[in-house]
Symmetry: C2
Subunit: 403 residues, 2 copies
């Protein structure tokens, strides 16, 4: 089985990179903190004598050699949001290293090489879309298009990738026998149900839109309400409309306005411009399309009501992704054999596994998140749960890799 | 009469300080651009052989000597919002210099010294409250309290004042015979009515509040709506509630949410914090108090509906200020004698004159703003209107100063 001390120590060492004063981490993709995290990851991989490859989008692959071409891949990401915890992403990568450490302990050279991948910019918090590194790796996005993406801070992805020295020239493994990702649930279901493990059957659909409202700056003390073109008020209208939509569509539909920036952003000036993000999610693509139609309707209403111009661009759009049924079944059976209590569930968060699923067998294992809290510095998963997840990962991967 | 070319050239020279690429100016108080504007103003005052005094809050006084102690003061401000025009504030100061130039042309040493004042941070866009320099000058705010004010960009007023070298050691004139401020209307009324001049009877009440909403950062894809503590949604709720209030209270009540900042401001993170400004105005103080009560009610509702904490602090609170009736009458009579069409009106914007009014006779002259646009780079006032206003100012001031 996995070594708890060794596994937790690795998590803590990685968590020191970009650590925040009150706990948690900020390791936005391709920032200096991410570069530190990457250096720490490479150090840990070298310690395990893994062959390291970095591809042109900065995905890091650590390879424990086998005899065949097709690899068994574990993976996730080490970038975080700016109010992130120690486990989101990091767990899947670090647990992968622990699996390799176990294979080494026992002197096992598996049939299929065992690979640990850390994909670039999974969070999408700095550069949209999310899951960008795995998207490029899977061939669904051109790397040159990725290089041109402008981040929420105005930085350009390709420049930042080169700046931190992670624009690699190698290719990741091309032939994937199976991809298994261990991740914290980031939601409240497993804890609510008192279960050890979530068997993830798929990921819900994700739709990200950036909405830009153009109004007219005006004096707050002299401009009558009827003569205003208030971009901030139009943004508030859209925000409230989405909240009403969620109430009407029921709990399967989520809508979040996480980012909003007003210009000139001064107390006595009616805002001339508002740029806001809208994150819509639903496990059902038809319902998600209906939510997108509602957003379009709200943009039209805002335009008419507030005399503003409203434009938008899609930052990310992923349909719901089902994981590979046979691999899901195998993971569930293995968990049962190990005496772990589990249930099948759908993922609310996007994951790298969903980008691998169209090109290779892929599935995921969830472990509970305390109070369902994630993207928050108080994100936490109990060591027992981490061990359960890592041991399940070890068993599934050794089974898949073959002796 | 005033010299049009000389007056317009002075406006253009000042407008070059902090000029924006697409027109207009950004000369936020005590920034480098403001420092450039102040240097240009001092240059123009020296050219007119005026005695210059800078007081501890950075107010600049240019004095054209007379024989008595009590002064006739003209004044306004040269700071702007970050999307400002060339006329808001600048006109009152520059027209004052033109009045002095006319006195010099005619070799007049008036009975009362004629003073041109440029008050610090009138806009309030960088440091709240607005009209801060005239407020301190009038004795209604302690200068040491003013030094400690933190600006919207995190800067501290006293440090910035020292940094640009405008923390003076002199006192402004203590004894004011009359204060007359020429300003652009910044609203649409005079243009609508086809009139030359607005005789300003007072300034409406101004209430500025900073509202801070504390929620909880959470994952946008995994956190059910009912478990969220969404600071951004609560801010949108308050914003819409204020807009509904304005619709219910009628056109005399204004409400503006000009500034709003979300934390962490990322697409897939429910906002943990929102800081917003609320600018409420009404010519009737009782009605303004009712609007403030409605804001308090909305904050309470937001707290209950969204499970957030809501705190607030007052950034500025000024009751409606009536100008000195005798001086208002004099200005109106003079305008009529000069054949200028005029009407009495109330000011929607705050002005330095309102801080002088409690301590000395004070009144204002408005000239039309094209389309009522202000706090916008397209702010414009026709040269003819500028000349009408400056000539009326010249006549009123020479009458008040005495020969
Ligand atoms: N796992 C995770 O937090 N992914 C970030 C992408 C998203 O779901 O917003
Ligand atoms: N005149 C002017 O724009 N004053 C700024 C203060 C305010 O009214 O907001």
């Amino acid at each position: 089985g996995v070594n708890p001390t060794r596994l937790l120590e690795r998590i803590v060492s990685l968590g020191a990179c970009g650590a925040l004063p009150d706990g948690g981490v900020s390791r936005l993709a391709l920032t200096d903190a991410d570069a530190q995290g990457r250096a720490e990851l490479l150090r840990q991989m070298r310690e395990l004598d893994m062959e390291i490859r970095i591809d042109p989008i900065g995905n890091i692959f650590g390879i424990h050699a086998g005899v065949e071409d097709a690899v068994v891949m574990m993976g996730s990401h080490i970038d975080t949001v700016s109010t992130g915890g120690l486990y989101d992403g990091a767990l899947g990568v670090i647990a992968g290293l622990e699996v390799v450490a176990c294979l080494k302990d026992e002197g096992i050279r598996p049939r299929h090489p065992v690979v640990v991948a850390a994909f670039t910019n999974e969070e999408g918090a700095r550069y949209a879309p999310d899951m960008l590194g795995s998207l490029v790796y899977s061939g669904a996005m051109d790397v040159d298009d990725a290089y041109r993406i402008t981040g929420c801070d105005g930085s350009v992805l390709g420049e930042e990738l080169r700046r931190i020295g992670h624009c690699g020239t190698q290719s990741g493994p091309r032939n994937i026998h199976a991809y298994v990702e261990l991740h914290i649930e980031q939601g409240p279901v497993l804890e609510d149900q008192g279960l050890n493990i979530g068997i993830v059957t798929g990921v819900q659909g994700i739709s990200w839109t950036e909405v830009t409202v153009e109004g007219r700056s005006a004096h707050a003390g002299t401009t009558p309400a009827r003569l205003r073109h208030d971009a901030g008020l139009a943004a508030a209208y859209i925000t409230m409309g989405l909240s009403d939509m969620v109430a009407a569509m029921g709990p399967a539909q989520l809508a979040t306005v996480g980012a909003l920036t007003l210009t000139p952003n001064l107390v006595n000036v009616v805002a001339s411009r508002a740029v806001m993000t809208v994150d819509l999610r639903n496990p059902d693509n038809t319902a998600l399309c209906a939510a997108e139609a509602m957003l379009a309707k709200l943009m039209g209403e805002a335009k008419a009501r507030y005399g503003v111009n409203v434009s938008h661009r899609t930052l990310a759009r992923f349909e719901p992704v089902p994981f590979t049924p046979a691999l899901v079944d195998t993971i569930e059976a293995t968990a049962c054999q190990m005496g772990l209590s589990c249930m099948r569930l759908y993922s609310g968060a996007g994951h790298d596994a969903q980008m691998i699923a169209p090109v290779a067998p892929a599935a995921m294992i969830f472990v509970p998140s305390v109070a369902g809290i994630s993207h928050n510095i108080r994100e936490y998963t109990h060591p027992d749960d981490i061990m359960n997840g890592a041991n399940l990962l070890l068993r599934v991967v050794t089974d898949q890799a073959g002796l």
